[in-house]
Amino acid sequence: MRENYHDELDEIDERIIEMSTLAAAAMDAATRALLTCDLELAEWVIGGDDRIDALRAELESASFQLIARQQPVATDLRMLIGAVHLAGDLERMGDLAHHVAKLARMRFPDCAVPPEAHDIIERMGAVARSLVQKVVDVVDGIADRDIALAQAIEAEDDAMDALRRALFALVLSPDWAQGTEAAVDLTLLGRYYERYADHAVAVARQARFIVNGQHVHS
């Protein structure tokens, strides 16, 4: 029954998975580019953002068409409304990875991250990686109605907030010797990682809405 319709729903599901995989890979590469001062890797992240933006446009248009023409209900409807929201968050996650990569490129051949901040940024990158891997698993598992992972993501976001506070403390301490420019860079980087984690939480909430129809508000 309604095979074309269900094929199109499956395609939307696949596009969301692709988008989340790309948003994960982008931040992972941007962090490595930043910490190892790798210009090529930074360029790769910057160039790849177009694909994420294009996927968002495709997802929105495909969801709109299905809503207009197929009268989706229940899980199908939640999935399509959820897809539009998810696409917005995943696109922003891609943008934030893009910002991190641009900062790495802007400071090349110097490193944007001075040695004393290296550890915190590395940990932020690790939390981002762990969070987004869960996001990919959640998005991939929407069809399996697994919400335990979506709940785990919210807990991990707290770790990111703590790291950002540590970064602030570092650049504001009287011992800070790297100057204003580096302090501004690190403040921005902290903001990018923290926002990235917040969007990951938003994706997890949308995934929960798709699975059980319950809105989660912070």
């Binding site: 029954m1 989706p72 229940a74 899980t75 409807l77 059980n212 129809g213």
Partner: protein, 259 residues
């Protein structure tokens, strides 16, 4: 006065075949309840048990209770004809008396019930019923022309006018739009919204979007296989049925995965 409807452990049979099994529900007064489900699920059968129209088929019978205004319509001594006066019905195909005038179509049921009535009163009933059926403006100049000359959508509204002329407590509609074009269908749907202020409405529809558009509550019926009795799966707020139904079978049906 609109009344609620309650079914308790209702079973409907055609001879030895049990068509509907153990259906129980409560419908509140002045609401629209849609019955949906695949062919053979028993939704039309259940509808017809609500005004004792099921038993008119030879060999058909019902057990269980149906309460309207807290009266069991299947209690011994209850006259089915009296039940059908208080529970009106509109059918799939508009069925006005074709040679009778529009005016006489509307008063047909009313005069049957009330015997001789003065012309002024009949005029009043005709105007009130046609206005309530949203047909008055279209037919006021030709009340004495035959009902068969109206369009399908107008004929269906004439049948609704005839059904409400007797001021029933409950109005049953058995796929009232399935023989109508889309615009006439929307006109009937608008009318249903107006009528629910005064009547309790139960509508069987094959069109799920129609159920989603017009009803306050939706009941999903299904059947597990041929030869099996139909059953009520769930009855809930329409908003809930079409966004987060409780039963997987409901979800599969409304999203077109079976049925």
């Amino acid at each position: 006065m609109a009344q609620g409807v309650e079914a308790r452990k209702l079973n409907a049979y055609y001879g030895k075949f049990r068509a509907v099994s153990e259906v129980s529900f409560t419908i509140e007064a002045r609401t629209v309840t849609a019955f949906i489900g695949p062919s053979g699920c028993g939704k039309s059968t259940v509808l017809r048990t609500l005004n004792r129209m099921h038993e008119v088929i030879p060999g058909a019978r019902v057990d269980g209770d149906v309460l309207i205004d807290d009266q069991d319509i299947y209690a011994p001594g209850v006259d089915p004809v009296v039940v059908r006066r208080s529970v009106g019905m509109v059918f799939q195909r508009p069925n006005p008396f074709p040679t009778m005038s529009i005016y006489d179509n509307v008063v047909a049921g009313f005069t049957l019930r009330s015997g001789r009535v003065r012309k002024a009163e009949r005029d009043q009933v005709v105007e009130r019923s046609l206005r309530a059926a949203n047909l008055w403006d279209e037919v006021r100049d030709r009340l004495h022309k035959p009902g068969g000359g109206l369009s399908g959508g107008q004929q269906q509204r004439l049948c609704i006018a005839r059904a409400i002329a007797v001021e029933p407590e409950v109005l049953l509609m058995d796929e009232p739009c399935s023989a109508l074009d889309p615009i006439s269908t929307l006109a009937i749907e608008d009318l249903i919204q107006m009528l629910k202020r005064e009547y309790t409405i139960v509508i069987v529809t094959h069109n799920m979007q129609q159920a989603a558009r017009v009803s306050d509550r939706t009941a999903f019926f299904t059947v597990s296989g041929t030869g099996q009795p139909g059953q009520l799966v769930e009855l809930d707020d329409t908003a809930t049925i079409f966004s987060t139904p409780a039963d997987r079978r409901t979800e599969d049906y409304i999203s077109g995965r079976f049925g």
